[in-house]
Symmetry: C2
Subunit: 280 residues, 2 copies
DNA sequence: ATCCTGATGTGAGAATTCGCACAAATGGAC
DNA sequence: GTCCATTTGTGCGAATTCTCACATCAGGAT
C-alpha cells in the first residue's frame, strides 16, 4: 500500500472535496483524484462514490478513513518533532492572527525581528479563520479567546478595548439620535464587540455590514457612520475621532498560542518573545 | 512532507539496513537510499550517518523514528481493516507455520481448500522465524506456544508428540549405550523437544546438529543416529523406525493465531477452518 | 589465498507521475 | 435570464522516479 495514496485519500475524507484536499496538500486536484483511484485499485475496494459534482465516501471508505486518521495526526507530530529538533535560530515560522492585529501590530514591526534574527523567515497569515496548530497550519497563533484544543499552550499577552469612531466632520454635524452605524456581518453577531455595538445602536440604523474591520474603518473615515474599532486602530488615525459612550467599555483579551511540542524550540521562543513585545 | 519518504525512513529505522528495508517494502535498495535522502533534504535535518557499509540513525533520526513509528502501526491497521471490509470469500491469504507443519500437514491438503474455495490464493510461509501478524507479514499463523503479542487471538487446535527415530538397520545393529544422536543447533537448546533429547542422550555423542528438522530426518534415515521427530513425521516414513523410551513423552501444542481485526472475515474463517481440519 | 554472501554506491534508460490548459456542469448573486 | 465561482473530468507534454546492471568493499567459510 502506497502511503502517499493513503495521505491523499485521508485529505479527501477530511476536507470533503477533491479541490479542498488538493489545496491542503498543495497539489493539483487531478492528482488527488488519481491517487484515490490508485488506492482503490491497489486495495480492490471501492472507497468513494463519484457523484456528478462531488466525491462521497462509501461505508468502507468512511471506516478506512476513520481508522487511518491517526496517521495524519502522527505525521503532524513528526513535523513538529522535526521543528523542535532544530537547534539554531532560523527557518520559516508561520504566524496566524486576526487581520487587524496582524496588519497593525505585527507586520509593521517585523523588520525589527529580521534585524535581530536574520535566519528567520516569517509567514504571517491574517485570517479570521483560526488556523489549526495541531495540523501545523501555523506554528504560533494569536487568538482573542482562550483555545480549548488539546496539546496547545496559551498565554494571555495583551488586552485591548473598543471604542466608537467616526469622522470628525460627521460627529460635528450629526446629533447622537441620528447616528448611523457600521458593523460586522451577521457571522460575527456573537462577538462581544458586535453585541456591544448593537446594544448601543438599539433602533438606529446599521448602514453597512462587512466582515472586514479595515472596511469598517474606511467607511467611518468617509462619514458613513460610527464603527466599533479597537483603540489601537482608531487612536492612531487622524481621520477618525472617538465618540465616548458611558458604561463599561468592551475589550478582548489577546492569547498567544503555541503547540506543546514546539514550546521550547529556540526559534519559536524568539518569535514568541517578539510578538509579546509587539503587544506590550 | 512526503509520506512515502517517511515510510521508507521508518522501514530503514525498523530493519536496520537499506537492503532489509528494501526487501520489506518490495523495492530496490537504491530507492530507499534516495527516499531517505529526499526526506532529509525536505526536513533540512540529518537523520542518518552514512558509514562505509551501514546506515546509522542520528539522535534526531532515532527521535523522529520513534515518534513516527505509530504511523506504520496504523498503516497495518488500515490494511487489516481493508481485508476485513471484503465481504466475499477470496483473495490472497498468507499463512505462517513451522516448516515441518507446513510441509507435512498443510501443503499436501491445500488442494482441497482450492477446490472448495477457488477464489482463495494461499501463500504459505514455512519459516522458523515467527512472522509478525501485527505487521501483516501473515494473516494466519501456527505457533507451538501461546503468543503474547497484544491484539492477537490464539486457539489451541492440536497437540503432537515427539519420539526417537532411526533407520531400522541402525536400530538393529546398535546397542542403546552406543547410540548417536541428531539434534537441533544450539539456537533451539531451550525448546522442550531439544531438552528432552539432550537429557536422554546424556553423555552419548551428538553427531549432527542442524536447524532443519527435515535434515535431521534425512540423517536418521541414512543411519547416522537417532533424531527426535514429531510422530506425524516419523510414523509415516517407512525408512524410519521408532525407538520407544520410558517416561512421559514430550509434546508441543499447536496454536492457531489470528489478528483480532481479521477474526470475523469470511475468507479468514474459511482458511482457519481448513487448517483446523488439517490438524484434527 | 579464494570464493561466496550481503552491504552500499553510481549511471542510464524506461516507466511513471505530475501539473497545466481546457471543458462541462451546477449553484448562487444580481 | 446572465455572470461568476466552484467542482470534477480529459489529454498531453514535461519532470520525476524507479529499476536494472554493474561496482566496491568487508567478513566468513573453505
Amino acid at each position: 500500500m502506497d502511503w502517499t495514496d493513503l495521505q491523499h485519500f485521508l485529505a479527501l475524507a477530511r476536507e470533503g472535496t477533491l479541490s479542498a484536499a488538493a489545496r491542503s496538500l498543495n497539489v493539483d486536484h487531478v492528482t488527488v483524484a488519481r491517487r484515490v483511484a490508485a488506492l482503490e485499485a491497489s486495495l480492490s475496494l471501492k472507497l468513494v462514490d463519484r457523484r456528478p459534482r462531488s466525491y462521497e465516501l462509501t461505508e468502507n471508505g468512511k471506516r478506512i478513513a476513520k481508522i487511518g486518521a491517526p496517521m495524519a495526526e502522527t505525521a503532524f507530530a513528526v513535523e513538529r518533532a522535526v521543528q523542535a529538533s532544530k537547534s539554531g535560530i532560523g527557518g520559516e515560522i508561520t504566524i496566524s492572527a486576526p487581520p487587524s492585529l496582524a496588519n497593525v501590530l505585527i507586520a509593521p514591526k517585523l523588520i525589527r525581528l529580521r534585524q535581530q534574527h536574520p535566519g528567520i523567515r516569517i509567514k504571517l497569515i491574517g485570517e479570521k479563520r483560526t488556523a489549526s496548530l495541531n495540523r501545523r497550519e501555523a506554528d504560533l497563533a494569536l487568538r482573542l479567546s482562550r483555545p480549548t484544543e488539546p496539546g496547545l499552550i496559551a498565554r494571555k499577552i495583551g488586552y485591548f478595548e473598543f471604542a466608537l469612531y467616526g469622522s470628525p466632520d460627521y460627529l460635528k454635524r450629526t446629533p447622537p439620535h441620528a447616528f448611523a452605524f457600521v458593523a460586522y456581518d451577521s457571522s460575527m453577531d456573537e462577538a462581544p464587540q458586535q453585541r456591544w455595538l448593537m446594544r448601543f445602536a438599539a433602533s438606529r440604523e446599521i448602514v453597512l455590514r462587512t466582515s472586514d474591520l479595515e472596511n469598517q474603518a474606511a467607511a467611518a473615515r468617509t462619514g458613513m457612520g460610527l464603527a466599533a474599532l479597537p483603540k489601537f486602530l482608531g487612536e492612531a488615525d487622524p481621520q477618525l475621532e472617538r465618540y465616548d459612550v458611558g458604561g463599561r467599555p468592551v475589550g478582548r483579551e489577546v492569547w498567544l498560542v503555541v503547540h506543546r511540542d514546539l514550546r521550547r524550540t529556540p526559534t519559536i521562543r524568539a518569535v514568541a518573545g517578539f510578538i509579546e513585545d509587539c503587544l506590550a
